[in-house]
């Protein structure tokens, strides 16, 4: 078993002339919950998609569990995309069937149990579900796998604050203990206390990678406060508005 779960060396990705990631070096270990934080457009989703193999880097090397991104790494990664990709005539149980066929590590009974605790009826069609309920179903699909790496892209963006706590609780109690959870978000204050460490992305580069406790100890403030300080909007020169 490889010590490092994610190893990124000089990874860059651009869309046409627009650079999304700029020579990203990053090491992430096992058994931890990591926050991938940054303002909109800082490269969070791009990095996650590279790890999933949905995008190819322009240059650099990226490995998960010591292997290049490919079918082997995909089998070990459970990915929650930032938007829904299922047909809305399906029921949650249809999706569970699909996932059971696709992923060896999908635990059907666990998925049903999670639905119960989240108050979702798995026999309902997606079409009849609210946005928040759909997000819960997606989360169930992702967390019911026993993966090495969970990649959660904005898992709490679309739900109310009470449901957020519930979702975080679900993540905490269900992730595989040898695995790592990487959560991208800009809702830091909601998520800070569940994180072991954070990675700050700014304009496609890693500008900080440290544990939450170290940050609080060294800076005497929360990660949320530090984030606001670093990313405070700078008005463009001459732009007095």
């Amino acid at each position: 078993m490889n010590e490092l779960l994610i190893k990124s060396r000089g990874v860059s990705k651009s869309y046409g002339r627009k650079t999304a990631l700029d020579r990203v070096d990053l090491d992430v270990g096992r058994d931890r919950i990591v926050g991938l934080l940054g303002p909109n457009g800082s490269g969070k989703t791009t990095f996650i998609k590279l790890l999933c193999g949905l995008l190819q880097p322009n240059c650099g090397e990226l490995a998960v569990n010591g292997q290049k991104i490919g079918p082997e790494t995909k089998a070990q990664i459970s990915y929650l995309p930032d938007r829904m990709y299922f047909a809305d005539w399906m029921k949650a149980t249809d999706l569970f069937d699909l996932f059971r066929d696709f992923y060896r590590d999908f635990d059907y009974d666990k998925a049903l149990a999670m639905c119960r605790s989240l108050g979702v009826d798995p026999k309902d069609k997606l079409k009849s579900m609210s946005k928040g309920t759909k997000e819960k179903v997606q989360l169930v699909l992702v967390m019911a796998r026993k993966a090495q790496l969970y990649l959660l892209d904005e898992p709490i963006a679309g739900v109310d604050p009470a449901a957020r706590d519930f979702i975080l609780q679900t993540i905490l109690t269900n992730y595989n203990e040898e695995g790592t959870v990487l959560i991208s978000t800009h809702l830091i204050s909601d998520i800070e206390k569940v994180l072991d460490e954070v990675v700050f992305l700014k304009e496609g580069r890693v500008m900080l990678h440290n544990t939450v406790d170290n940050i609080r100890e060294n800076e005497g403030k929360s990660v949320d406060a530090l984030f606001r300080e670093i990313f405070r909007a700078q008005p463009m020169e001459g732009g007095n508005f």
């Binding site: 919950i33 706590d165 206390k193 406790d213 100890e217 005497g220």
Partner: protein, 119 residues
């Protein structure tokens, strides 16, 4: 009992203080088994690794000890418990003096006022 976490200090430290307080006040009685790491982490809504660190601190302070089989037991050493209670009391006393100093009372005056309270 609620878990209260503030922004200015490491989370594990705050958790370990609150666990210690629960032991001192008898929420977790001497000799009893503490809830598991996962259970406590879930209650407080924090990461299990963070709770683990808080519990390790309790062990270091002698308030809890790892059991041979599994989990942790609250200490039965009354001297250790009493010392921890005294330390907590000292914190409360200092807070009183600080608050009074802010109002302009010297420590002696503050102590006098306390004596005048109907006890």
């Amino acid at each position: 009992m609620e878990w209260k976490l503030t922004d200015d200090r490491p989370i594990w430290l705050q958790l370990s203080e609150q666990l210690a307080r629960r032991i001192i006040t008898g929420v977790y009685p001497p000799g009893s088994r503490l809830p598991s790491v996962r259970e406590l982490a879930s209650q407080a809504g924090v990461n299990p690794n963070t709770m683990q660190r808080a519990l390790a601190q309790l062990e270091q302070d002698g308030l809890a000890k790892a059991d041979r089989t599994a989990g942790r037991l609250v200490t039965q050493d009354t001297a250790v418990l009493e010392a921890a209670r005294r330390a907590e009391a000292q914190v409360a006393i200092n807070q009183y003096f600080d608050a009074m100093a802010e109002l302009g009372y010297a420590r002696v005056q503050a102590a006098e006022l306390l004596k005048e309270e109907n006890l």
